[in-house]
């Protein structure tokens, strides 16, 4: 994996010389963010050993455990796969946190008012802390796996978006909402106390990040000219489609190939089984789904899922 990649972005940086508060809800959130800072080096019980004897991920979240090709593995290999699978999943959150760090740095520049800039600055620090904490945990667990290409495509699209409202919806509502919901699921299901503490702390930060997107976009979207608002709707649809399809076997599964190295797995049969199961609505419905529970409802509340785009969300299986 290349350790550095370049993305060219059309950022239109805005100074703001009116330093007064114009959005009280955002300013209040900024005050909360200052109070709720924590230190990844000292507020996490790093002296605890990682418990790999049980489920690191919530069994409902780690769909691999239900697959025949996994059930057929000897116990030691199944445990090894479980650890690798957890490291792969957490690696995606690690990369996502770096993506959020980059996007939020842009938000400081591109949002048009001082309340939004000040809050975004606190989020930059939050994201730095998340990068630190997940990297440290993954190193102890296994190793950092490469970013899923679909996740990277969505984050690059957010970084390259020309409208700041696209960045705000893409990162704050969709990506952060997905992370917040996923961490809630992870907290409820992990048997590892160290990971539970990490995702508990991180989810509190993610909640503020989503709230920022809701506060900003509730006022902003109705003010936008129709063509621009439609572009935001289309952008949100693209982001959701890309990430949902990734989870259903397009790109996402192939990027997990490294997990299977040295294990007695028939790769062709495994890929077929993954794709068949993930295409099955009943199989998917049995699992917690952060998109369904936390992202789609917020897009609906903001009016970003319109009559024009709703059919494509229904095609993905969402009730909109």
């Amino acid at each position: 994996m290349a350790t550095i990649e370049e993305v060219l972005t059309p950022v239109r940086t805005l100074w703001k010389f009116d330093y007064g508060t114009h959005n009280k809800a955002l300013r209040d959130l900024y005050e909360v963010a200052k109070k709720e800072q924590w230190n990844a080096a000292t507020d996490v019980p790093w002296d605890r050993e990682i418990d790999t004897s049980g489920d690191i991920l919530d069994p409902r979240q780690d769909m691999f455990q239900d697959f025949d090709f996994v059930k057929a593995l000897p116990d030691d290999q199944r445990t090894e796969l479980s650890v690798r699978r957890a490291a792969w999943t957490l690696s995606q959150f690690l990369h996502g946190e770096q993506g959020a760090l980059l996007c939020c740095g842009q938000l400081v520049e591109v949002v048009p008012d001082i309340d939004g800039k000040l809050y975004a600055a606190t989020q930059v620090v939050d994201e730095a802390r998340h990068v630190e904490v997940f990297y440290r945990y993954i190193q102890r667990l296994d190793r950092v796996y490469p970013i899923d290409p679909n996740l990277q495509a969505v984050i690059n699209a957010i970084l390259q978006a020309d409208l700041w409202q696209m960045k705000c919806v893409g990162m704050q509502v969709i990506v952060e909402g997905l992370a917040m919901g996923s961490f809630k699921i992870m907290k409820e299901g992990t048997r590892d106390e160290l990971l539970r503490k990490i995702v508990e702390l991180t989810a509190m930060d993610e909640a503020r990040h989503v709230s920022y997107g809701l506060i900003y976009m509730k006022d902003e979207l109705p003010r936008m000219p129709d063509p621009d608002r439609e572009r935001v709707e289309d952008f949100a649809l693209m982001a959701v489609q890309t990430m949902v399809n990734s989870g259903r076997g397009s790109g996402g599964q192939s990027s997990q190939a490294a997990l299977f190295a040295d294990l007695d797995i028939d790769m062709a049969a495994a890929v077929t089984e993954v794709q068949e199961k993930m295409a099955d609505p009943e199989f998917r419905a049995q699992r917690p789904n952060a998109f369904r529970d936390y992202v789609i409802p917020q897009l609906l509340r903001l009016g970003i899922i319109s009559d024009r785009t709703a059919p494509q969300y229904r095609e993905m299986g969402f009730e909109v």
Binding site: A25, D28, L29, V32, G177, M180, G181, K184, A203, M204, E206, A207, R208, H209, V210, S211, L214, I215, K218, D293, Y294, P297, Q298, R301
Partner: protein, 88 residues
């Protein structure tokens, strides 16, 4: 006056709702989710609860139809008991 409730299955206990509506929404000690402990009695409280609902990151606070006031004394009692327990 409008009435509100928290869907505890969605709530992650971030406490942002309490920041917005401190007189009406609490996370009782030891609880994982927020609760509407007192339905709004004034326009200011109603506005605060509406903000808490609009900006709840989980979408877990909803306006409810019907009179929820009957549940309010129990909720208040429960909160008071929890606070007492925490204090002791």
């Amino acid at each position: 006056m409008r009435q509100f409730s928290v869907d505890e299955s969605l709530c992650i206990g971030c406490g942002l709702c309490h920041e917005r509506a401190p007189d009406n929404v609490e996370i009782p000690p030891g609880a994982a989710a927020a609760r509407v402990t007192l339905q709004p009695r004034t326009d200011e409280e109603e506005e605060a609860c509406e903000e808490a609902a609009d900006y709840c990151p989980t979408g877990g606070i909803h306006e409810v139809s019907g009179d929820m006031s009957a549940s309010t004394p129990d909720d208040e009692k429960s909160l008071a008991e929890n606070l007492d327990a925490a204090a002791s």
